[in-house]
């Protein structure tokens, strides 16, 4: 064995290592900066173009359809906001309990059975299906198939199909994170399995479940394709789930292709509204999760 180098030399930072470190560090900083560019631009454009069209009237009136006259006569997006809320609420009411149910079954009962694997496979396939396919499916099944016309509830069905795999997959991952030792100690206390699930597993996973559910809601709220030929497009505010219904993505989609500047600006305003709505929902759910995590 050769004699060890003097400590000073052994531990000194070589120029080569210094160079490598600089390059590697530069590369990750540059990636972060590049990724930030579109993010910042989106927020900037949304705010600068969207805020301009915001006003009390913007939120309290329906679009008029008079797109060739003065900006003041085109109307607001009230019907779109309410339509989105109604349809997403209905879609969530269907997809969230169903998705949670599937996830609970997969984690607590199905585990690694053959059927559970099949279910997981199909959920993965569903996650990858383009959103327009859900609209198409509902169109064929509930509109062409029944010979009826567009309706809000059909749009909500399409959205719920879109949400279902997202909720299920997110919930499954979160439920798997709940330590098995908690289930065991609850079972060892003489708790029936359903109580273990409702009292221990679901509350423990709640913050994660909320995040997953929100992700799905946010995704559904921003989808245009499933609504295109299921809920139709309309201008009036409607509360009839069996009638046509406007929505924010549809409003944006129709407005942004308009030749009138004021209408295009309304699209920006609607887009900003959608983002703010989802942001508020997110904040609200986080608050809820924080409060419920310890009573």
């Amino acid at each position: 064995m050769s004699t060890p180098a003097p400590a000073f030399e052994r531990f000194s930072l070589t120029p080569r290592r210094r160079r490598k470190d600089r390059i590697a560090r530069g590369a990750v900083v540059a990636s972060t900066a590049i990724a930030l560019v579109p993010l910042v631009l989106i927020v900037y454009y949304l705010l600068s173009k969207g805020l301009g069209s915001w006003s009390i009237k913007f939120f309290t009136t329906d679009p008029t359809g008079n797109t060739f006259f003065a900006a003041s006569s085109i109307g607001g997006i009230k019907s779109a906001i309410l339509g989105t809320i109604e349809m997403v609420a209905l879609a969530s009411a269907i997809a969230v309990p169903l998705g949670l149910g599937v996830a609970v079954w997969l984690v607590e009962y199905g585990k690694s059975s053959r059927f559970a694997h099949t279910v997981r496979f199909f959920i993965d396939v569903l996650t990858g299906v383009p959103s327009i396919m859900f609209g198409l499916f509902i169109y064929i099944a509930l509109i062409v198939g029944t010979g009826t016309s567009y309706a809000a509830y059909k749009g909500a069905f399409a959205l719920s199909l879109l949400m279902l795999p997202v909720v299920t997959r997110a919930a499954e991952v979160v439920l798997l994170l709940v330590p098995g030792s908690l289930r065991e100690s609850a079972l060892a206390l003489g708790a029936p399995r359903w109580k273990v699930i409702f009292r221990i597993v679901l509350p423990t996973a709640l913050p994660g479940l909320l995040t997953g559910i929100l992700l799905a809601i946010a995704r559904a709220a921003g989808e245009t394709a499933p609504l295109l030929f299921t809920a139709g497009a309309t201008m009036k505010t409607g509360f009839n789930l069996n009638g046509f219904m406007n929505s924010l993505p549809m409003q944006i989609y129709t407005d942004v292709t308009s030749p009138t500047t004021a209408v295009v600006n309304r699209a920006w305003g609607a887009a900003l509204t959608l983002v703010v709505m989802i942001l508020l929902l997110n904040l609200f759910a986080r608050l809820l999760a924080r409060r419920s995590s310890l009573r």
């Binding site: 690694s112 908690l182 289930r183 065991e184 206390l189 003489g190 109580k195 221990i200 509350p203 310890l294």
Partner: protein, 325 residues
């Protein structure tokens, strides 16, 4: 401590000694003056092991104020294993064990890692079958009735036979109070005077004085030893007849371990205790009887003192003297 014990024994139903193999002396309910009427072997153990005689007299270990102790009284029941086998898939981890756990005694299970101690204990309250692919054969008789009988409700079995796990695992979403109450609520016994029951269980676990001012704080915010005693309180709240402890002190420091050991010594007046331990000194300190297991089989069982000083089997001797393990 002795002041409230006469009250306790009044509430106790008497176990019929006929259907188990223990002697009449061991099966009789603990008398008010338990310390002076111990079985001869118990006295023998105590004389030879000074650490055992200290614990019950330690002041902070006094369980409860008079009046509160009565609500939680239930007697321990005897458990008998008959040709118990446990499998993970096709692999037998426990290979046919016959073993008696006497009522209101502490039985320690010792043996090297992987010898099937934990698996065997998990069979006693049917937690073993919760592992996918795991199953058990043979009989586990609780007070004479087989808990593996097809007519038996697993949930009811687990209410009678509680379990404390290796790692303290209070429910993270719940406060100290709710953790203890969870046992009652989960077992549909949450009605009635919940607060009183929780207090009794916490006193029984020697934790009341430390947590009475922070009942609404998170259970996970307690120290490791307190968390483990919280878990014991949680098990006690449902008033089981048997408590299984799977290495309850292996994640704890010596002081916390000592407290748990003192607690075990007090609890055996109310429940039968089976404790799995890697720590042979611990077995010597807390157990009335000790069983030594090796590769899924029971090598020897007997009074703790005998197992550690004069075992019948040479493998036991080699293990307890540290020749392997």
């Amino acid at each position: 401590m002795s002041a409230d014990e006469p009250t306790m024994s009044l509430e106790k139903p008497t176990i019929s000694p006929g259907d188990n193999t223990m002697s009449a002396d061991e099966s009789s309910p603990p008398s008010p003056t338990r310390r002076t009427t111990m079985s001869p072997e118990d006295q023998h153990t105590q004389m030879l092991d000074p650490s055992r005689s200290q614990s019950p007299k330690s002041p902070q270990a006094a369980p409860s104020a008079p009046g509160n102790a009565r609500a939680n009284v239930s007697d321990g029941l005897a458990v008998k294993l008959e040709q118990l086998r446990a499998f993970y898939g096709d692999v037998a981890q426990v290979k046919g064990i016959d073993l008696d756990f006497h009522a209101n005694e502490v039985t320690a299970i010792i043996g090297p890692s992987g010898c099937g101690k934990s698996t065997m204990v998990r069979c006693i309250n049917r937690m073993h079958e919760e592992v996918p692919g795991a199953r058990a054969e043979g009989k586990v008789l609780l007070d004479g009735s087989d808990i593996y009988d097809s007519s038996v409700d697993v949930v009811a079995v687990r209410r009678a036979i509680g379990m404390v796990f290796q790692k303290p695992n209070p429910f993270p979403t719940m406060s100290v109070f709710d953790n203890v109450a969870a046992g009652l609520r989960l077992a549909s016994r949450g009605r009635g005077d919940l607060h009183n029951k929780v207090e009794t269980a916490l006193r029984g676990a020697g934790l009341w004085d430390e947590v009475k001012d922070r009942l609404s704080e998170a259970g996970a915010g307690l120290s490791g030893g307190q968390q483990q005693r919280l878990c014991i309180a949680r098990s006690l709240a449902v008033e089981p007849e048997v408590i299984l402890m799977d290495e309850p002190c292996s994640a704890l420091d010596p002081i916390a371990t000592l407290k748990i050991e003192e607690l075990i010594d007090q609890l055996k007046s109310k429940v039968t205790i089976v404790i799995v331990t890697h720590n042979m000194q611990q077995a010597a300190r807390v157990a009335d009887r000790t069983a030594f297991m090796l590769s899924g089989e029971l090598v020897e069982v007997g009074p703790t003192q005998q197992i550690f000083t004069n075992p019948n089997d040479s493998r036991t001797e080699e293990y307890v003297t540290g020749k392997f393990g």
